[in-house]
Symmetry: C3
Subunit: 261 residues, 3 copies
């Protein structure tokens, strides 16, 4: 018999931070059930309760992991309420998460092969508390998936619903412009927009200022807004070796214009 | 011969943070001695020198790890002084730590099977410095334990002493009230109290305000103190999707009252 | 055939932080190419773009890892510009990094056995973006190294250049004093200096105040500057259980004097 979880990867994404052991204890639960699984941290300092940010992260990074990887995604302000715990199979990957929008962007890229509401208590921990489903439901479910239990055994098929209020961008065919907005900021203060990275961007405009489109960061104008196809697969606003959010006083929702000619 | 450390888990808990490599270098020491051990981070952003917080973390999470797990716990403001480095076996787990109170709560739950003061230099790194026993003493000791060296070989049996000044709670049988206080705050600003999670709580009182007892976070009253049996196995004070510490201006030592009828 | 990457360690050092998944996605790339490699985090909360700090970290910690370890070091403000991606073999270790000074201190300790500019696209990911060589170049190169591909196949031999503007210290033979300065601060607010840990320090002077030289932290004078041979292998300035940077208002470049008699 093969060792349980051999060659399986579980990738963890949460807003749990690094000071309370909430991530560590989920790993304890997983390792108690699945000795040989490999645990990889995607990110745990996502801002508190920021589901959109989690969705952006997943969308940007999931495809760089081996097919079959199980993503354990717990940004879960509604823990214990009637929001459903789900497993989604999509693009050859498994996503274990609350049904609250965190999977909206990744499931918009690949077809959803299957979506299960987790209901089978056999694969959960017993617990008196209702405040930590990461530990009591999502972690053991991910471990059992890694051990080869099929997701059909864990609950009932449901339809996936979209929850995120994701802002659309506007394309003007005649003027060859795209208008979008700032969604969030990364660790360096670079602004992530709702505009996907693309070829053919000539320049742009941010906060009434012209913005140079750059191939790499050091090409950017000092102290001014610059644009780049960034690490999230999105158009980003940056200032070279500075924090653009603070330096340019950018805010979520600020408009960005791309000129394609 | 089996590979050294095969199937053994070492769990690391420190206040070393993530910017200096202090955790990473301990892992280097361990991997140099014990090739196949699995390393799991419990938490490293514990506030500087906060031994009580480390004790609360261990108490909350240790039992979710497989029996035999070695906990390497280094919150150690007294490093190099006459505080003793110890190994405690308790509840089927091993705890390698300074003898400064960080194990006080976990050893109050399970019987202490054995307590050893680490004195055998064979199992330490040679070092001119006296400022980093995490690297020079605790990490190699944990690795040698994982390799099957017995703790008796590492030093002499001593009696475990309690160091924490842990505040007691007061139970009023007649009025069915419990009075406790705030000990610390988690990443979300939820307040951890000295009151263990329990059944039968009807409501409570915090800072002269009534506090609703909730089964899950979104049940809570907005902008007001609410109570829940939380992720640390303790009664916590929270505000839904807000930072209770900042929002309610809570402080360590603030009184909490539970009504059990 | 052996499993790819078996018994190989890749150690990751970046300024990517823990909120964006930039470290996680590099691990996804590595695990996709090298199933059995062991991934160890050295540190990822290095201050943004702080190459000197990364160099200090590597110098302090590399020798505690097993020989053959591959260090993947990505503090890379010049990503995409003409700065070269390199592999350096030194002291039996491999360092994969941008050629920007991050390896200056570690390569000053051990002879450089070989230095290769990475040019072979076979071992990179294909990418339209030029903003994330950690994911697209450095991570896959480290994985292929772990799989046994030799560094000669990855590019052309070049000469290693030093980039850091590292301040020298001054030794006065007659007065037996050493004059140095503050380089950086660790998580606790202890000041790292450009003076290596050494025997024979009697006392010192910091910001016009006498500084006691201590064997361990609790020996230090409260509220005053104290000196110790610290965890980075350097002389550090500290205040017991306090943040010396804030408490003494220390700054980078502040002078430190050691008295050796």
């Amino acid at each position: 018999m093969l060792a349980k979880g051999l060659n399986m990867n579980i990738v963890l994404l949460t807003d749990f931070g690094y000071q309370d052991g909430f991530v560590g204890v989920m790993k304890g639960v997983i390792k108690s059930l699945s000795t040989h699984v490999t645990l990889i941290d995607l990110a745990h300092s996502v801002p508190d309760y920021d589901i959109l940010r989690g969705a952006l992260l997943l969308e940007a990074h999931y495809s760089y992991f081996p097919k079959g990887t199980i993503f354990l995604c717990v940004i879960d302000p509604g823990v214990g309420s009637d929001r459903q715990p789900i497993i989604v199979k999509s693009g050859g990957y498994y996503f274990v998460a609350p049904h609250n929008g965190i999977l909206d962007l990744v499931t918009a890229i690949e077809d959803i092969e299957q979506c299960i509401e987790i209901t089978n208590k056999t694969y959960m921990l017993e617990s008196d508390a209702n405040s930590f489903h990461g530990r009591d439901i999502f972690a053991p479910i991910a471990a059992h998936l890694a051990n080869g239990i099929s997701m059909e055994n864990m609950g009932d098929e449901i339809q996936y619903d979209w929850f995120l209020n994701y802002p659309f961008s506007t394309y003007n065919e005649e003027e060859k412009t795209v208008i979008g907005e700032i969604l969030s900021f990364d660790k360096y203060g670079n602004a992530l927009t709702n505009l996907r990275a693309r070829k053919g961007i000539k320049s742009g405009r941010v906060l009434e200022q012209d913005a140079k489109f750059c191939d790499y960061f050091l090409q950017g104008n000092d102290r001014l807004p610059n644009l780049i196809n960034g690490s999230f697969g999105r158009v980003e606003i940056f200032v070279p070796e500075k924090n653009a959010e603070k330096h340019l006083r950018l805010r979520k929702g600020d408009e960005v214009i791309l000129y394609l000619k």
